[in-house]
Amino acid sequence: MFELPSGAEIQSIIASITLSVEFFIPEIYLSVLFMLLIVIDLVAKGKKNNLLSISTLLGLAGSIYFIFRQQFMPAEEIFFGMYVLDEFAIFFKYFFVLSGMLAVIITMADDQFESEVKSMGEYYALIVAMVIGMIMMASSADMMMIFLSMELVSFSAFILTGYFKRNPRSSEAALKYLVYGAVSSGLMVYGFSLIYGLTGETNLINISSALSLHGYDPVVMILATLLILAGFGYKIGAVPFHFWAPDVYEGAPTPITAYLSVASKAAGFALLMRFFYLAVPHGGPVYEDILGLNWVSLLIIISVASMIYGNVVALWQKNVKRLLAYSSIAHAGYLLLGVIVMDAFGTQATLLYLLSYFLMNFGAFYVVIQIANKTGSENLEDYRGLGKKMPLAGAALTVFLISLVGLPPTFGFIGKLMIFSALLSKGSIYLWIALIGIMTSVISLYYYMLIPLNMYLRESPSSEEKNMNPGLLPNIIMAALMFLTIYFGLFFQPLADFAKYGSALFGLKLH
């Protein structure tokens, strides 16, 4: 029924592909790195040395060069518009590569791996794979690409979550993640299929034009969107699609928890923004009237729910990792606040918030790991009196938590400031949401402060004097992260400009 393409067509296709490739170099490079790591693993069989990790670091660092080169390329749609290269994508490329590197660094610092697994084997390769997947999530403009990249990320995440094979929690987390992820991505695909049915298109831009041209059956549209939202929501871990998050975050190896809570959440947001900004018609009064369904209202509900739920439930947590898991749900809510503003300022605010969240969350998890290395526990009670034993770690953690609350002079405050500014720049319509955000951040102060409270205000029950010094390198890293968190809290201009750069292309496409 389909007639084969002529030679000429094939020629042109090949030509366009070869043309596209040069816009695709970082991804290719990373894929090579991925395979290379597997090879290295095979060569250095099972030996527990830092060869793998170091090479991963270097490899990822190397990719930055290619990404940097892409900054000077014109914005392009490659592979027949399935894939785009724009500032937004570049921003996230940097973001993901850096988070990958931090994940590696954290992993190197985590002693749990010594006890839990024999060989790091494919671990680092999978991290790289996730980086690739997330980069593609951030830059794909076609439902098929979206699906593929999401699955790439998910699968690597499943394996990494369950990486401690002998650890029941880890395995349980993996299973839950798997089932939940599979279901929600299945639903998402179903939603995609419906949209495909409505428009006959898989490319986001064509979809939006088709939708706005021919209109559509609202019922199907609603269903489709909800299903797709289920897929995205599961990635960003926002209420009500968050259920997997606490268990997985608690069970997974801490570096992976950090990685998931920052990077894959960011990827989800990248996808969310691109999809809703490009494909789904929004803001235009026409569709609201026909549909009675306003995307913004939907997102508002989700974000408010996330802020309240995350913060309120976190009040009850005794396990620091789990506490941070809930806080990350809440932060998904804050990030959504930036999305619902639906303009360049909002995007910029979101991106900046992501950056701050990146810094402080990784920092917090890093300190948590350092403490776990020494105390072997992540329970709040076991943090008692740590402030004296590990002064630097205590101070650093306090700074990160303060930043998570959003108090000056930390980066987290800047993030909140930008988000709320974005909301208020729209006048008083979003003020009540801002109020909810403020209130919940006051609540959050309480449970965040529980940790310093235990570390400083309470004496540790055990008075045995074991060496609690994490060692030089970790101290340096902690200090560096702490310093950055404060530094960018005072001089955030460069990062804010970077975020502005990341949101540049959207400036044109937004209403």
Binding site: V179, Y180, V183, L293, Y447
Partner: protein
């Protein structure tokens, strides 16, 4: 700056200097530096005596006045008001000069006396320091030319009185008394302060002269009721300081202080400051205010007199008589007998100081026995004390040939005149009460003299435990005295305590003040202290001539910047009248008329006229009353015709009523003290439980989580349940249950949510 001003500043600062020296160096100086105090006060008295000489004797001028002020606080250009400064200043007129001399003199005498009385006390030096600060503040009141600085020094005398009453602070009774005194004064002061505020809020100045100018110019924007209120509120200050009803309760307790202090502060000077202050503000008191003042004074005089009858503590009797006499002065001011009241102030200061110092001598000699029931027969042992004490007593009782007679008589005359002018009726109550308390005064003073000096010594009658108590009381402050004392060890006090008695007694004789023992009005005092013209006359019945007159008065005064100095010009004829050999009465009479014709204030004219007319009746009645009182005392105590105890039994309720000081302390304690303590308890409870519970919402989260972290769970108990916190909490508790840990329930919820959304929008779509 006028030389007198400079001198007065020196006088003002000298006692402060003595305070500073003594408070810091009393331990290093020999004799704890009492000679410093005495010496400095001597100098101060010398200077003020010179001032007195120049003002009163040399420039014999009722309207004499020099003033000087400086900017104390500069508020810059205040929006809506313009440049605003707050000035401090000094004014010297006849009254000031007299007060200066009086205060420094009595203070000097008390210093001298104390060197004997307080000898050996372990805080001897500090005592003189406190005397210094008191004298300083008292002189400040006397010299101030504005309400603000008067208020400042007002509080400062309060402070020094606080310090001196509580000088034997180990005694709880002393500590209580000093607190009571300060608080009672504070109550009066807030009234005074509000009065000041009313005037300031109108004229944005505190200076007397400017306020009076503005008032006279009719610039008072608020209603006349406010003006009366201002007057009465300012009068409240006097009520507090001069222990007028209802704030009289502190003065008797203040006798816990050393006796010389009682003489200086609580008889002669500080308590009189209230009267002095009312005199200063006399011109702005509306007739309504004056009526209230008159009644309060009359009632106080009467009430205190009745209480004094039954008191047994020698100092308490004198204390209540002080209250009573202050009542007289206030009464005098109230009825418009301005100069009479001030006259009484001065005379009373001297003879009452004499009485107190005398009682101090007695107490000293009796080894701190204060209960008259265990005294008696001291006449032979202490002749000097006896003589002076008796003379002063006669003055207080108001027998002719004494100073007290002249002043009290003048007041009573004024009262009668007042009652006449006001048209009789209830207003006759005032002179009646006055005369009656005059009789009571004579009675209880007679009683005191008799109990203390006559008869046989009753020391041995004293119950042992009582003796014991007394022993404690005085052992508290000088442990060196031996305690096995009895009457025949009593001997006359040393010269440095005797001399003041003699001087003060001498000052209670009539010729010091007036050539005519029957008429103080011929004396220099009442000539120098003239009733000033009211400035609120125009606020009563604003008739045209008054207005114009006031206006002219103001225009006339702008030169000398004094509202009152018109009297000067107005009084020229009076002086001529006095100098010409007419009968003094007519002179006085015409003088008053001229004065009023100048000021066109009929009321003051009528009052003066009335008091003058009532002069001789007053003399007769009061003399009769005094004779009555004394003879009654004689009947009861000397000739024992009436047995006091039996009578007491006969009229027991009245007796107890008087003995217990009309139960004022009990009443106040039951109402105000208990009330405010209860209220404060309630509020504190309210604070910790209700407010903290309601407002401090987040606390409950803290508490619950604290509970979860099982520490300080006691906080779970207290505080009301806060609702926001509670809801936050419970929602958390409920929501987290959603996280069942079963992945399939997660999926179910996911689908449920999606389906829910779907249904929601679907329905919105259909309808």
């Amino acid at each position: 700056m006028h030389s007198l001003i400079q001198l007065s500043i020196v006088v003002l600062l000298l006692p402060l200097l003595s305070f500073v020296i003594l408070i810091f160096f009393n331990r290093r100086l020999p004799r704890s530096g009492d000679f410093v105090g005495v010496g400095i006060l001597g100098t101060a008295f010398a200077i003020s005596a010179y001032i007195f000489w120049t003002v009163i004797v040399q420039t014999y001028d009722p309207a004499f006045k020099v003033a000087w002020d400086f900017t104390w606080i500069d508020l810059g250009k205040v929006p809506g008001i313009g440049p605003l400064q707050i000035k401090m200043g000094i004014v010297i007129d006849n009254l000031t000069a007299i007060m200066l001399a009086m205060v420094t003199l009595i203070s000097l005498l008390v210093h001298l006396y104390s060197t004997g009385y307080m000898a050996g006390d372990k805080n001897y030096g500090r005592y003189f320091a406190f005397l210094g600060i008191f004298t300083f503040s008292m002189l400040g009141i006397v010299l101030s030319d504005n309400l603000f600085s008067i208020y400042i020094f007002w509080e400062l005398v309060g402070l020094s009185s606080y310090l001196l009453i509580g000088f034997f602070f180990e005694k709880d009774s002393a500590a209580d008394a000093q607190k009571k005194a300060f608080l009672a004064n504070r109550v009066g002061d807030i009234g005074m302060w509000l009065g000041i505020l009313i005037l300031y809020s109108q004229f944005h100045t505190f200076s007397f002269t400017e306020i009076y100018l503005n008032l006279a110019a009719g610039k008072f924007a608020m209603s006349n009721a406010w003006l009366t209120a201002a007057g009465l509120l300012l009068f409240m200050g006097c009520v507090g300081k001069s222990a007028q009803f209802p704030l009289h309760i502190w003065l008797p307790d203040a006798m816990e202080g050393p006796t010389p202090v009682s003489a200086l502060i609580h008889a002669a000077t500080m308590v009189a400051a209230g009267v002095y202050f009312v005199a200063r503000i006399f011109v702005l008191l509306t007739p309504d205010a004056l009526h209230v003042i008159a009644f309060i004074g009359a009632f106080t005089a009467f009430m205190a007199a009745t209480i004094a009858i039954t008191q047994n503590d020698i100092k308490r009797v004198l204390a209540y008589s002080t209250v009573s006499q202050l009542g007289y002065m206030v009464l005098g001011l109230g009825v418009g007998a301005y100069s009479a009241a001030l006259f009484h102030l001065v005379t009373h200061a001297f003879f009452k100081a004499c009485l107190f110092l005398g009682s101090g001598a007695i107490i000293h000699a009796m080894h701190h026995e204060q209960d008259m029931r265990w005294m008696g027969g001291l006449r032979k042992h202490m002749p000097w004390t006896f003589a002076t004490f008796t003379l002063a007593t006669l003055a207080l009782a108001g027998l002719p040939l004494t100073s007290g007679f002249m002043s009290k008589d003048a007041i009573l005359a004024g009262a009668i005149g007042f009652a006449k002018v006001e048209g009789g009726g209830v207003y006759y109550l005032i002179p009646v009460l006055g005369f009656f308390s005059a009789m009571l005064t004579a009675f209880y003073m007679g009683r005191q003299i008799w109990l203390v000096f006559f008869g046989e010594s009753r020391t041995h009658l004293k119950p042992a435990d009582d003796l014991h108590g007394a022993h404690h009381a005085h052992a508290a402050h000088d442990a060196h005295n031996d305690l096995h004392h009895s009457a025949h060890e009593v001997h006359e006090v040393s010269w440095n305590m005797r001399a003041p008695l003699v001087i003060l007694a001498a000052l209670s004789v009539f010729f010091v003040y007036s050539p005519n023992p029957l008429d103080g009005a011929q004396g220099w005092f009442m000539k120098m202290i003239q009733t000033p013209a009211t400035v609120v006359g125009s606020y009563q019945t604003a008739t045209e001539p008054q207005k114009s007159a006031v206006g002219s008065q103001q225009s006339a005064t702008e030169g000398q910047h004094s509202a009152l100095s018109t009297q000067h010009s107005a009084l020229e004829p009076q002086k001529s009248a006095v100098s010409s050999q007419q009968s003094a009465t007519e002179g006085q009479h015409s003088a008053l008329n001229t004065q009023h014709s100048a000021l066109t204030n009929e009321r003051q004219a009528e009052l003066a006229h009335g008091s003058h007319a009532a002069h001789f009746p007053a003399i007769y009645i009061s003399s009769i009353m005094v004779i009555l009182g004394i003879s009654l005392a004689g009947v009861v105590f000397v000739f024992k015709i009436i047995d006091p105890d039996k009578t007491a039994e006969a009229i027991r309720p009245l007796y107890l009523f008087s003995l217990n000081k009309w139960y004022w302390d009990e009443i106040y304690d039951a109402t105000f003290i208990k009330g405010s303590m209860l209220l404060s308890k309630m509020l504190a409870w309210f604070d910790t439980n209700i407010i903290d519970g309601f407002v401090n919402g987040v606390a409950l989260i803290v508490k619950n989580l604290a509970f979860a972290n099982n520490s300080f769970d006691k906080y779970v108990v207290d505080g009301l349940v806060n609702f926001t916190a509670f809801s936050v909490n419970t929602t958390g508790a409920v929501l987290r249950k959603l996280q069942t840990g079963k992945v399939q329930t997660y999926v179910v919820m996911l689908l449920a949510v999606v389906f829910g959304y779907f249904v929601f929008y679907f329905t919105r779509l259909i309808y």
